[in-house]
Amino acid sequence: MSDILASATASKGAPPPVPDFPEDEPLYESRREIYQQSVKGRLRTIKWAVLVGCLAVYYFLPFLRWYRGPNQPDQAVLVDLANNRFYFFFIEIWPQEIYYFTGLLVMASLVLFLMNAVAGRVWCGYLCPQTVWTDLFTTVERWVEGDRRERMMADAQPMTAAKIGRKTLKHFLWLMIAWWTGGAWVLYFADAPTLVKDLATFQAPMVAYVWIGILTFTTYSLAGLMKEQVCLYMCPWPRIQAALTDQYALNVTYRYDRGEPRLSMKAAAKAREAGEPAGDCIDCRQCVVVCPTGVDIRDGAQLGCIQCGLCIDACNSVMTKVNRPLGLIAYDNDVNIDRRRQGLDEVYPIIRPRTLAYAALIAAVGLVMIYGLMTRSFTDLSVLHDRNPLYVQLSDGSVRNSYTVRILNKRPVHRIFVLAVDELPLARLTAVGISMTAGDWPVIDVGPDSTREVIVHLTAQKPADLPPSSRVTFRITELGTGEKVSMSDHFISR
């Protein structure tokens, strides 16, 4: 290219030739089939454990029971959309307490940041649903069609009845898992045992079947058909995490200071004898064939690497066989590669300002949430002053203000409250549709786990004695327990 430009500038007067895009350079890339090879090792064992744990929670959690009292759902985790309630073990959340979810999401993202600062893309490699289900689907594929070599050979050969049979069985099993995944999803939104029975007898609501269908489709296509393409092209997280990492974060790293120059075993032995430099990497490509996204870790940290650590297991088993030290590929970083090359000791500062800040934020958000949950009130009151009109003058010159009062009863029992007003001594309070009174104050009963809205009218006899706008406090007192909640508003007299 530089030659072309040089020749162009040489021939004065003529414009430089614009390099046109050649026909054979594709703008679209065919998918490279990845035949992931099985591997054994410490990280693979951890991955199995995480996979089994995550899937067990996902598939069976809806069946876990949690007794809350009569006429209350006994499902431990339940999103009750019809009644606007979310149940999580001992916690029950109303829609207006959605900030608990906000807190949970803030915590989740901070934990994600912390994981990233400590050990890179732990989420991508071990916990992400895409990784977990892809791993499960690949395992099924391996179980039906054999490991890497067998699958490659089978795919290279023409179709036979046996091959069609195996492929059919694989897709059938994938669809079954996908269908079960969709089925488990809907169980979080209704009583699980009842819904399972209804689904089996075709009595369940249409929306349940539709959602099972949608999730069957997404699970089958994303975990079975798309696999690594999701990570490479669809997911925003690989792009974001580049901004969250730093030089001390432990990433799955090829220690090129030890590995290079790559030589075959024989060549390396010869070089070592001659006192010439020889790396530990024997270029066996085991790290590449076990990779779920098909990248070569020896090219360094890259977008396609989900840092699952399977190449670490593969390389360690090879290093054991060739009798070289383990850890040619390991959780490490470029700082230590440079330090080793300069003959310095490795440093692994897990505790550093970034991780401390994340940990402190997690602790702070967690404490605020625990405090919020511990002091969560089971009674609440909201008062809304009428906006139009602000006040009404009556025939005898007194003035009335109207308010909409809403009482929230978050306990699973019927409760009775007395509604009263402080700071307005001569006022009279009436509530629409409430005939019961205690003294001069209306008595309002509220059903279990529900709210009640009441329109109230507050009348002041001598508005001239009041300022144009004065503060009033509405107070509810539960009969029996004496529990009090109050809420301030204003009384407009002119």
Binding site: P389, S395, D396
Partner: protein, 291 residues
């Protein structure tokens, strides 16, 4: 002249050959499945043209083989809403007017329906907040011409005031002034000041209370009562109230005495169904003035 693609040394990848101020674009090929999905969406959109209404024609549009029209959706949703409301609407129709407020669910339903119906039918005269305006009563205060009990309110809404229907409220305020009237102009002024005094408003200089009382007793008390407290049977307002329908200034009161008043309200029994009229009565009664 075909040119070999340039290789970027930092990444080892080819460039597209595009260059801006020395910055070159790397060739990052899109996955083929992305392209195929893009084509599939184009095919899918053609399917939409065939099955759904799509292309505008000169005077019409293509209807699509599914025969879909958004109007049907509206009708279906409205029908579903009606079916949903049928249970409570039925309960509202069966429940006597006085008992509606005792059932919280029914009260909530009636208030919601009443509020909507009020906005549609009553707000043009009485205002969106039911506070009225001169000539149109404020429905939130406790000054009622024809009674503020829920049955009275229901009666007024159903049949109206001074309209052609025999069942409507009747009772005119005759004009007492003019050449052939019962009161002479200076007497009208005296009575007007007497009325202002009744509700505690200041009177003009030289006003004779004794004469005012005598004139009121002879001409007004038959309807408005000896003490001016009005009579709801004939819609004669309580003149001791601070709230005046047409205005409390002397000029307006003189005009009322001279020319009389006869505001008309239409009856709603024929236009709105019975449950809506009931809901309106409950809503107006709950606004604060209900007695």
């Amino acid at each position: 002249m075909a040119v070999q693609p340039e290789i970027d040394h930092a990444t080892g990848r080819t460039t597209t050959g595009h260059e801006w101020d020395g910055i070159k674009e790397l060739n990052s090929p899109l996955p083929k499945w992305w392209l195929y999905i893009f084509y599939a969406t184009i095919v899918w959109s053609v399917g939409y043209w065939i099955v759904y209404p799509s292309w505008p024609l000169v005077t019409n549009y293509t209807k699509g083989v599914f025969g879909y029209a958004s109007r049907q959706d509206v009708t279906r949703e409205l029908d579903a809403l009606k079916a949903l409301r049928a249970e409570r609407a039925g309960a509202l129709a069966r429940t006597p007017l006085e008992d509606i407020a005792k059932d919280p669910t029914l009260l909530t339903f009636a208030l919601a329906q009443g509020k909507a119906a009020f906005g549609d039918n009553c707000a043009p005269c009485h205002g969106l907040s039911a506070t009225g305006s001169p000539s149109f009563p404020n429905l939130r205060d406790d000054t009622w011409l024809w009674g503020g009990g829920i049955a009275d309110i229901h009666q007024t809404i159903a049949f109206g005031i001074r309209n052609a229907d025999d069942r409507s409220r009747q009772g005119p305020m005759p004009g007492l002034g003019g050449p052939n009237g019962a009161l002479k102009p200076d007497e009208v002024i005296t009575v007007a000041n007497f009325v202002r005094a009744l509700s505690g408003l200041p009177t003009r200089q030289g006003y004779d209370p004794a004469k005012g009382k005598e004139l009121f007793a002879n001409n007004c008390a038959a309807c408005h009562g000896d003490e001016g407290r009005g009579n709801r049977e004939m819609g004669a307002p309580n003149l001791t109230s601070r709230n005046f329908l047409y205005g409390s200034d002397e000029k307006t009161i003189i005009e009322t005495i001279n020319l009389g008043r006869g505001g008309v309200m239409p009856g709603w029994a024929g236009r709105l169904d019975e449950t809506t009229v009931k809901s309106l009565a409950v809503y107006v009664h709950a606004l604060g003035g209900g007695q």
